[in-house]
Symmetry: D2
Subunit: 378 residues, 4 copies
């Protein structure tokens, strides 16, 4: 009998390769994304958004616009139609509590831009690892590993923002470093309303100008550059996050590290905090007119995995984009040597377009834990 099973397995190997799981994020406020960059559409189902949330389509469209390619001279000139249709879960301008299905059609799919890399592994791309994992890959833009997938995250994140907004919580991100150029100001010294006033999305205008120049110069070389995005969550309620595996910063960290090109995550004092002594690092608690606050915030608003009501602060490291308009040595899938050079319309720096993605993923984490905390109330 066992041999019969073995035979079936042997036969069916012929037909199937493997599946791709991991398309869902979040527990109570959960999102499931679908779609490839060169198929008919991408989209997302949000399951668990409570009813009664006022839907702000302008916010959603604005965030999609911020993520959109072709928005400035320092982003790719590729055009995407990011118009988003709401298929379910919204009625008379508010959410109904049922699954919210969001649909974004694809367009301007210049698949032939990718023909030259059909059999070639681009350095530091997912091309080789896809083949190693799945035995095949969709060479037309990266399939599910395409950054196009993040548009669905941004759309879902807009609903998380609407939910948080009702609780007075705001999630904001900005570019704090491009290569070695960084703002020396903390978020409280910056006017975060200025983030979108320049195309690099750094609210420090003088540094922003230098960053833009740097990226323009690097683009001219056909090269790319990395940097850091910082996030701030204000108006936090205390008590969000769990004490063991699902610490609030652990879920934030996973969310950030799941964004394309992310290389690191830190919150509060982060890596710099490792240089401090406990007597310097500890945040002294004070009772200010009945509100318990800490005089410093090395904890980044999270202690023992649980929010303490102070602002949550974190940073995400992004590597330089792998696609260069330069010739690089590489190999083909058959192991022979080759050279590869990007032909498409690629970004010299992922940072400005990643700002709304960081905000979206952070908002989804906070919304999820906000609902989880509600399960604790009766």
């Amino acid at each position: 009998m066992l041999s019969k099973v073995a035979t079936i397995i042997a036969i069916s190997n012929y037909l199937y390769l493997r599946t791709m799981p991991g398309n869902t994020f979040g527990n109570l406020f959960s999102i499931t994304t679908y779609g490839e960059s060169h198929g008919p559409a991408i989209g997302v189902i949000i399951d668990g958004c409570p009813p009664g949330v006022k839907v702000d389509m302008d916010l959603l469209e604005a965030d999609l616009q911020r993520r959109k390619p072709g928005q400035s001279k320092i982003t790719t000139q590729r055009k995407e139609s990011d118009s988003c249709e709401v298929l379910s879960g919204v009625f008379e301008g508010v959410t109904t509590g049922t699954p919210i299905s969001l649909l974004i059609r694809n367009s301007d799919q210049r698949s032939k831009d990718y023909d030259h890399i059909k059999d070639t592994y681009r350095p530091s791309h997912a091309d080789m690892t896809y083949d190693q994992k799945y035995g095949h890959r969709d060479y037309r833009g990266g399939g599910r590993s395409s950054a196009r997938e993040t548009a669905a995250r941004v759309a879902a994140g807009a609903f998380a923002k609407m939910l948080l907004s009702d609780s007075g919580i705001s999630v904001r991100a900005y570019v704090s470093a491009v290569g070695d150029l960084k703002t020396e100001k903390t978020y409280s010294e910056l006017d975060l309303d200025q983030t979108d006033s320049n195309i690099i999305r750094c609210p420090d205008p003088i540094v922003a100008e230098k960053m833009i120049e740097k990226i323009a110069a690097i683009k001219k070389e056909g090269d790319t550059i990395g940097g850091v995005i910082s996030g701030v969550i204000q108006g936090m309620v205390p008590g969000l996050g769990d004490p063991v595996f699902d610490k609030l910063h652990a879920d934030l960290g996973k969310a950030m590290l799941s964004i394309n090109a992310a290389k690191g995550f830190e919150y509060g004092s982060g890596f710099a905090g490792t240089l401090m002594k406990g007597s310097e690092h500890n945040d002294i608690i004070e009772n200010i007119d009945g509100v318990f606050r800490t005089s410093t915030n090395h904890s980044g608003g999270i202690q023992g995995g649980i929010s303490n009501g102070m602002d949550i602060t974190f940073s995400v490291a992004f590597k330089p984009i792998a696609t260069l308009i330069q010739k690089q040595k590489s190999i083909k899938a058959d192991g022979t040597s080759t050279e590869v050079m990007g032909k498409g319309r690629h970004d010299p720096c992922v940072l400005p377009r990643a700002v709304p993605i960081v905000e979206a993923m952070a908002s989804i984490v906070i919304a999820d834990h906000l609902l989880r905390q509600r399960t604790l109330n009766k």
Copy 2:
């Protein structure tokens, strides 16, 4: 803000307080921990470990020993019985594929060491956030937020190591920095077999000596210090990890950030990679006698969320421990001012005992993704 939440909590306390979820980690190789530091026992159920894994109880006991308090002059002198009983899932020296239940009895519970902080919020501890979340806390050692819980992780991680060992995968961690003292050598320049040859667990003997001296000095002040633990996963198979939310480094990041006192995570080039240009950062792929390798490894063994077969490298930032043998200002639960000073037998530096925890959590992530990858085979 706090008072509004407090009101809601006060109302809902009437019937119940709240539950604590988030005690499970992993999908196919999943662990669920239980137990408080001052209850009868702690433990873990491993569900999903395949049958046929040879059980190495010496490895398990050795790792528990490495995590154990009281092991050296630079760790707490508190004693814990970390003897571990296997209640199920192992038969005739191998795993059976059924849930593996591991039990560690508690002992030496000097609860009265904690009496002085019964009503007091220690700075940068989970005391206040616990009250904010649950409306109550177990002041006897921190309840579920106690580092005692990590013994269960280490025990479960030993089974993950046994599973990985059969696939030729090894997971190793070491202390790479204590405060501003750090080894300048990369892991390949170090002899990782020397990690346990000194009490700080840094395989660079000269730096290790300085680290131990520094910690001893800081301990004398009643103070504490942070640092960095680096991890290396060798013998990796390519293809592990998913392309969207469950990227291999995103799951590793969450695992590391869920360890007590962790403040940051980076892999491969990490935060330093943000300073590089794409032409410097890209890892060129080579075909070396039929094996596809990269000439550099800024990717840290992971591209597009999927392992490429190169060594996986990552670092975890740990803050200085919050409990000081110094007087600090703080407040009581009722908001009145007070002073607090640790009386227990606390660690001046979390790092040496955290090394096996880092290894355990990393092993569980890789074991989980190894099994997930097997679902792709037929």
Copy 3:
């Protein structure tokens, strides 16, 4: 009791109402449905379908056609456009292993058919329980509790059928009883290819004729009638199902009981098996030319929760549809007495249209366990 709940709801309405979870079914082959009967669209994401499955859109359209209203004189005359668009996960006629998103636009939404029941609780409908659960309801056709949702299940089930087809597994259902009229033949005495040859979908032509007459008569009275659908899964591989909670028949049972109007589930000998002695009920195992079979099949193809390779047999009880074209006493949401009478185009009997739904849900369960079993292979 109700008033107490109502008070709690009233208080909590102030900020939000409540969310509706439970829109996902399946573990490795998982479906998430969305959409209301009177919104823009319904649809489903299938996550976990392996790549390489040949997509048979004719099968999908045929099954949607079988579930569609208005298909015969004994079903509702309501029209639905069940044309299904594949948005992702299929490329060049085969699945790619990425999430498959299926979209079905709504049309012919005669919302005003429901105006008369806006404030009225229809007997044995979900109207009152929706209000009790959510504090509100979408009276236009039942919202998520509408049978319209099952079109998404049928579409997803078609992909499960395609997957099973490659393993030689077929899932078939038929009407075995309408009220007290039932076929006395077992499935092996019937020609299941004849199921769709009549509008009631009973493969026993003589009984089918009587069933159709009975339903026509009951329809004339404005009344409705229940019945039983039987299912048969042939070409089964042994070894599917788990020994504890996720027994194969437990998951089949949940799937069937999740279909609108289902009241009971049995497999193998079912309730009749309770009348037997062990010596009569036990299925003797035989070795027939190297294949291990049982001489009888009271086990219904499942022993200890795990398939044994024999045909799986089960039955599902369906109650008479609650909407009558008769006046019935009821109450309004405010508690005042009223009368209610269906005005829409309703079915006198759910059975013929439920046959493809039973097949779809059974196919999804078997596909899920087929993939789960593959995780056991290396």
Copy 4:
């Protein structure tokens, strides 16, 4: 590179067989059981039980006692120590909201009772399907498919009962039929307090007497008999259950069908309801002094998957136990013919000991949905 993966897979096949998942049940009130009948212990972790539940160890012990073998002349004479130790999650007599770990040591493991079936497949047992699934089996009492596992469910169910008790909900089960002997009385005509007054646990004393005689006679023949257990949930709150896949009766059905030897499940009118017309079956809603009730209860307390506050009624069909003290034909694992006869101390009828298991699983389902409903409140 791909071929390297293939080689690793081929090598590792040698070492591993497959894992056994599916050891967790429930979403917010979730239980994970572990342990084999002939290992050191069995047990369960309850995760998600809210804090503040008063722990009634007498209730827990009493329910274990009701499930225990050897309790009467019509059950197996095998002895089990079902003494249960609470390892975590309970402090000062109430639950703390942390995971509750319950441990039951095994004893009286007469493994040699099973030696005669080491290589033999017992008819209608899980022996053959285990081999088909896992390629191996623990012949000493059935491994995880042993009914011993249900002791852990009963222990966990006791905590669910304590939780429900605080909301005024009671879950009760009783034997309603043994073979063709059944009580004709409905639960409201019976005194459910009398259920435990006789050893068959049927609250109809005259029928109970006949049932006991029948089982005694069948036991004398070395044979076994099936029957039906009915369940009643009283004091229900309306609003529990979800409208799509997680209908309250669908989750109850899965819970019941996951109990060893279960063959069918029905609720409310069940299979008998298929014989009714809608005008007979519909439950007319009445407003009785501000409480909305139905005049009949064919719905079994659940409409559209959601509880309506009426009593929930359901029945579970159990087959006759497969182990006979009679010779039966069978085959060995190698396919050769043999005869098999039970030698152990087996039950002639599963029903009396299954009553507390039915109550436990039903309690866990209701507790889970009670917590899920709380997530909807703010």
